[in-house]
Every structure is written in structure tokens, then in C-alpha cells.
């Protein structure tokens, strides 16, 4: 009788422990990563239901091209293209230490619907607009210091990983091209090509920003 109860106990205990375990890790050694997004600790992990399928918009195969065209791996010479692990490493190290920012280059509407934890919305339109005023304000916000002669000191400027909706999304490429054209150092720019679609395909955590109040 005792043994039976003990086995029952073990079963219940085992089930409880098993449910705590992370079955779907990011890599063998990284079960999850935590990041502070707008004051909230967000745990970046993957969906634990091993039967789960994508069912929403990111399963859509075809959007009109143009504008939604397939992007090259190296859209801008000198800008590195990265994958999810490099991005997670960037979030863990650079974003955490404020040396870098993760840039969601999509329109604000898209950003508010759903985005990657720790990211900040800089719509590609800011880089595309042909205005010196906008450029100055943007570069200043990004930590570049204007020298007297019209050039910039980028030593304190942020590293940036730029992404948008995915392989078929040109927003981030437009942003990168324009930033390089305007003089932002290429070595401080990175391109996460798979974008939100790739992120979601892996079942990674996303965040929804409750309406950001501008002050």
C-alpha cells in the first residue's frame, strides 16, 4: 500500500518536474533569454507545444511584388547579415548594455501589432525622407556627435540590428541603404534578414507594445 502511494507520489512529482522543463530550447545550451522591454522582464523562449503550427498571417506565401519582393542576403556591401542566434546574442550583450539597439524598421502600425522583444521602432521612412533636419535629429538620437565641419563622430553611436517582416520585406533594406548613404558606419549596421516571420516560425517570444504615449 505504501509503495503504491509512493509510486503515485513519484508520478505526480515527475509530471510536475517535467512540466517545468523546457523541452524546446533555443540551442542546446540556451533554454531561454530574458530581456527588459519597456520596464517588463520578457523571457524569450520558444513555444513549448511541439505540435504547434503557425496559423496566422506569417503563413501567407504571396504578397504582391513589388512592393513585397524577395531580398538578397547581402543587400548593402559591408553590412553583415545575421541569423537568430547572432540576434539573440546581440540582444543579450549589446542591447542589454545599451551599446546597441534592435531596430524594427517597419511602419509604426506593424510595430504596435507585434514585434521582437527589446526592439525599438525606427520606421524606414525616417531614413528615406530627404531632409537634413530629420537626418540630424536621427543621428543625434542614435548617439552620433556632430562635429563643427558637418561630419559626425560615430564612436559613441549605437550598433544596430535592423529587421522588418521577413525575407519578402524591403523596409529594412531601404533603411540600411539610406543609413549607409547618409554616412552611418557600415560596421555598426547588421541585417536580420529572416525578420519577424523567421522569428515566429521558430516559435520565439514576441511582444505587443501597449500604445506608447508620446510626451
Amino acid at each position: 500500500m505504501k509503495t503504491k502511494l509512493m509510486t503515485l507520489l513519484l508520478l505526480i512529482g515527475g509530471a510536475a518536474i517535467a512540466s517545468e522543463n523546457i523541452q524546446v530550447k533555443i540551442t542546446e545550451k540556451i533554454p531561454y533569454v530574458t530581456i527588459n522591454d519597456s520596464g517588463t522582464e520578457v523571457k524569450i523562449s520558444r513555444i513549448q507545444d511541439t505540435h504547434n503550427r503557425l496559423t496566422d498571417d506569417f503563413t501567407k506565401t504571396s504578397r504582391a511584388c513589388p512592393p513585397h519582393c524577395i531580398q538578397p542576403v547581402k543587400p548593402v556591401e559591408g553590412v553583415k547579415t545575421i541569423g537568430e542566434l547572432e540576434l539573440i546574442d546581440f540582444i543579450k550583450n549589446k542591447v542589454y548594455t545599451k551599446k546597441g539597439i534592435l531596430v524594427d524598421a517597419r511602419l509604426k502600425k506593424w510595430f504596435e501589432l507585434e514585434t521582437i522583444p527589446g526592439s525599438i521602432n525606427i520606421p524606414f521612412t525616417l531614413a528615406v525622407v530627404d531632409s537634413d533636419k530629420v537626418k540630424k535629429a536621427l543621428f543625434k538620437a542614435l548617439g552620433a556627435k556632430e562635429k563643427g565641419d558637418g561630419t559626425y563622430d560615430f564612436s559613441q553611436a549605437k550598433d544596430m540590428v535592423v529587421f522588418c517582416n521577413g525575407l519578402w520585406c524591403g523596409s529594412s533594406v531601404k533603411f540600411l541603404k539610406q543609413m549607409v548613404a547618409k554616412g552611418y558606419p557600415k560596421e555598426k549596421l547588421f541585417y536580420y534578414r529572416a525578420g519577424l516571420q523567421g522569428w515566429k516560425l521558430l516559435g520565439l517570444t514576441t511582444v505587443i507594445h501597449k500604445a506608447i504615449e508620446a510626451k
Binding site: 500500500m1 505504501k2 503504491k4 502511494l5 507520489l9 508520478l11 505526480i12 512529482g13 509530471a15 510536475a16 512540466s19 522591454d37 519597456s38 520596464g39 517588463t40 522582464e41 520578457v42 523571457k43 523562449s45 513555444i47 513549448q48 507545444d49 504547434n52 503550427r53 496559423t55 496566422d56 498571417d57 513589388p66 512592393p67 513585397h68 517597419r106 511602419l107 509604426k108 506593424w110 501589432l113 507585434e114 522583444p117 525599438i120 525606427i122 525616417l126 528615406v128 525622407v129 530627404d130 531632409s131 533636419k133 530629420v134 535629429a137 536621427l138 538620437a141 523596409s171 516559435g203 520565439l204 517570444t205 514576441t206 511582444v207 505587443i208 501597449k210 506608447i212 508620446a214 510626451k215
Partner: protein, 371 residues
């Protein structure tokens, strides 16, 4: 860090508005985990304590008592075994089963002796007879009750015989009645104990089934090869059953966290976001992007995406058809909910109160309604 619960009516009203609220994030979750773990430990301790006490109790009493513990503790298999033994007993009723009956008999004898002693103190034979009379009358009722379970009557016979053989005298009618009542009582105890056992077995199965997703998947694969007709029956069956509260089976297939900028104003990133926001609102940007076709198209696509992201929170008493009616205006649209939430097709019991179901806006249906 809000976890707001929009209901569908709100969402239908503002289908483009901010959607999807999913998991509780941050410290809330941590506290929940800690609470859960503490509860679990308490639960385990309680079970351990009960196991300890139970072991002690049954260990001490197993010699003296009518063997109730077989029914209480032994799994269902064992009790069927004893039943089988009992039916065998019935087949050759002349011999008494050696294991249980001597104990029972000695117990019964003790009881009878006590009763007799009481009566001796009363020392009035006529009074005893009068007192015994109603008991004799009640005998058929007891027997009727006992007849409901076959083994009881058999056991009665066996006890009678055993008593006769061991005491060397025939038992009086009132003694028999007492014995019958006792047996009926014990059987009732055993009967009550059986369902309890079944439930513990059930929970055991549940916990193991929660673990064993692979087996579930195998079942699903079998089910998927079934014909359309089969699918139809399962669907209607699911529609009939109310949505059950089964929070323990929660599986997060959204993996979304709601964050809010509140309380993050001192954060460097938040400041940067505000700065960018103010640049966005400048005239230069507004003018520069107004007429760009690409921006317009992206904007439209975002609106469409918002509609696709629509969800509802399952309330108590909801059925899939009622949800479908709320979302699409017709109960038959539950298929759309199945399509959008493949995890509930796999396991309909995974629908629980507070669950978020995807109910994407159906543009085609809206158009049809318009016509």
C-alpha cells in the same frame, strides 16, 4: 505590464485596434510559479503523511478486522480477483474459504457474544424476544439489499456454515440478522471504496497522459486517416459538450507578452523611442512619406494583419458554436475556429475558460453579408 482581457464585442467594434493579449509576464509569472511549487510541496507532504498514517493504521488492524483494506487499497484488478474467488466459493458452497472467513467468523462471534452478554445483563428473556422481533422483521430488507450484490448472499451462506461448523451450534434468527447487517455494512464500505480508487487511478492516468504527448500524436495520426464521416461525428460531439475549465492543461501557443511603456520613462531606450516618435511627427517626415505608394501599401497590409490577429477569450459556458456565432454571426462557422486553432482539433479538451482563440476576421463572409 497589463494583461487586459478584451472581449469579442469590443474587438468587433474596433477590429483594427490593438489586439492579442497573451501571457502574463515578468514578476507575476514568477510569483505564480513559486506559489505553484509551494502548493505542490504541501500537497506531496500531505500525501506522504496520509500514506504514513494509512500504513500504520492498516498495518495494525489487518489481523483483527474484517478485511476491508483489500477494497480500500488494492487496485481494481485485485477486487475483481476477490469477486472471482467469491463466485468460486458459490460454486462449491459446502467448503468454507479458509482465508477471510475464519477471521470474519471470529469477529462475528465476538459481536454475537457481546450482544448476548448485553442481553444477559438485561436478563429478561421475553424482553429480549420482543427486542429481537423487529430485527427479524428487518431481515428480509437487509437480505434484499444484500441480494443487490450477488457475493453478499453467497457470503451469508458461507458465514452461516462457517459459524455452524466452528461454534458447533446453529445460529438463532436474530444472530443471523445481525450477521447479515454486518456483512451488508462491510460490503457497502467496500462498494464506497471502489469508486474512490477509480478516481485516484483516473488522476494517475491524467498526469501520465499530460506527459505523454507522443501517444496523443499517434492517436491523432490514426484519427486523421479516418474518413470525413468520422470527423463529422467528432465535431458535433465537441459542439455539444460545454467548454470545460481545465486550466491545468494550458498550453501557450501564442508566446506573446504585453509590455507597456509605463514606468519605463527613465529607461534610455524609452527616451530614444520618444525622441524617434517626435521626429516621426515632424512636418518633414509627414510630407516626405505622404505620397509614397510603398508606404500606403504597407499601411493597408498592416490593417489586414490586424484583422487576422483578432482573438477572443473563452468565457464560462462557451461552446465552439456560440463562439462562432459571436465571431461570425453563425454557429456553423466553428470550422473557421478549428482552422485557426489547430491545437483544439488535436485535443478538444484543451479549450478552457480564459483561453485565447484565434478568430480572424472573415472578409469574404462580410462581403456576402453586404450583398
Amino acid at each position: 505590464m497589463g494583461n487586459e482581457k478584451n472581449n469579442l464585442d469590443d474587438l468587433i467594434g474596433t477590429s483594427g485596434g490593438s489586439p492579442i493579449i497573451v501571457q502574463e509576464s515578468g514578476s507575476d509569472k514568477k510569483i505564480l510559479y513559486i506559489l505553484l511549487i509551494v502548493l505542490l510541496i504541501l500537497f506531496l507532504l500531505a500525501i506522504g503523511f496520509i500514506a504514513f498514517l494509512g500504513g500504520k493504521y492498516f498495518g495494525q488492524n489487518s489481523n483483527g478486522q474484517v478485511s476491508t483494506q483489500t477494497a480500500v487499497v488494492a487496485p481494481a484488478q485485485n477486487s475483481t480477483v476477490t469477486q472471482a474467488a467469491e463466485s468460486q466459493k458459490a460454486v462449491d458452497s459446502s467448503t468454507v474459504e479458509p482465508k477471510a472467513t475464519p477471521q470474519e467468523v471470529s469477529e462475528l462471534e465476538q459481536m454475537v457474544a457481546k450482544e448476548e452478554a448485553k442481553k444477559a445483563i438485561q436478563s429478561n428473556a421475553t424482553k429480549v424476544e420482543k427486542a429481537a422481533a423487529p430485527e427479524v422483521k428487518s431481515e428480509p430488507v437487509v437480505q434484499e439489499k444484500a441480494k443487490q450484490e450477488q457475493p453478499t448472499t453467497q457470503e451469508q451462506k458461507a458465514i452461516q456454515q462457517a459459524a455452524q461448523t466452528t461454534t458447533g451450534r446453529a445460529l438463532s434468527q436474530e444472530d443471523l440478522a445481525k450477521i447479515a447487517a454486518l456483512v451488508a455494512k462491510e460490503l457497502a464500505k467496500a462498494k464506497n471504496a471502489k469508486p474512490a480508487q477509480a478516481t485516484t487511478k483516473g488522476t494517475q492516468q491524467q498526469s501520465s497522459s499530460a506527459q505523454d504527448d507522443a501517444a496523443l500524436a499517434a492517436q491523432l495520426e490514426q484519427a486523421q486517416t479516418d474518413t470525413l464521416a468520422n470527423e463529422q461525428t467528432t465535431v458535433t460531439a465537441n459542439l455539444k459538450s460545454d467548454v470545460k475549465a481545465a486550466s491545468s492543461k494550458k498550453v501557450d501557443t501564442f508566446n506573446k507578452v504585453v509590455v507597456s511603456s509605463k514606468g519605463a520613462n527613465n529607461d534610455e531606450l524609452a527616451k530614444l523611442a520618444q525622441e524617434i516618435d517626435s521626429i516621426l511627427k515632424s512636418e518633414d517626415v509627414k510630407e516626405g512619406t505622404k505620397s509614397v505608394k510603398y508606404v500606403k501599401e504597407l499601411s493597408q497590409e498592416a490593417a489586414q494583419r490586424a484583422k487576422e490577429l483578432r482573438f477572443i477569450v473563452v468565457k464560462k459556458g462557451d461552446t465552439l458554436s456560440s463562439i462562432a456565432y459571436r465571431a461570425y454571426g453563425r454557429a456553423s462557422a466553428y470550422k473557421k475556429i478549428y482552422e485557426a486553432n489547430p491545437d483544439i482539433v488535436r485535443n478538444p479538451h484543451r479549450i478552457y475558460v480564459g483561453m485565447r482563440l484565434r478568430v480572424p476576421v472573415d472578409e469574404e463572409y462580410k462581403k456576402q453579408q453586404g450583398k
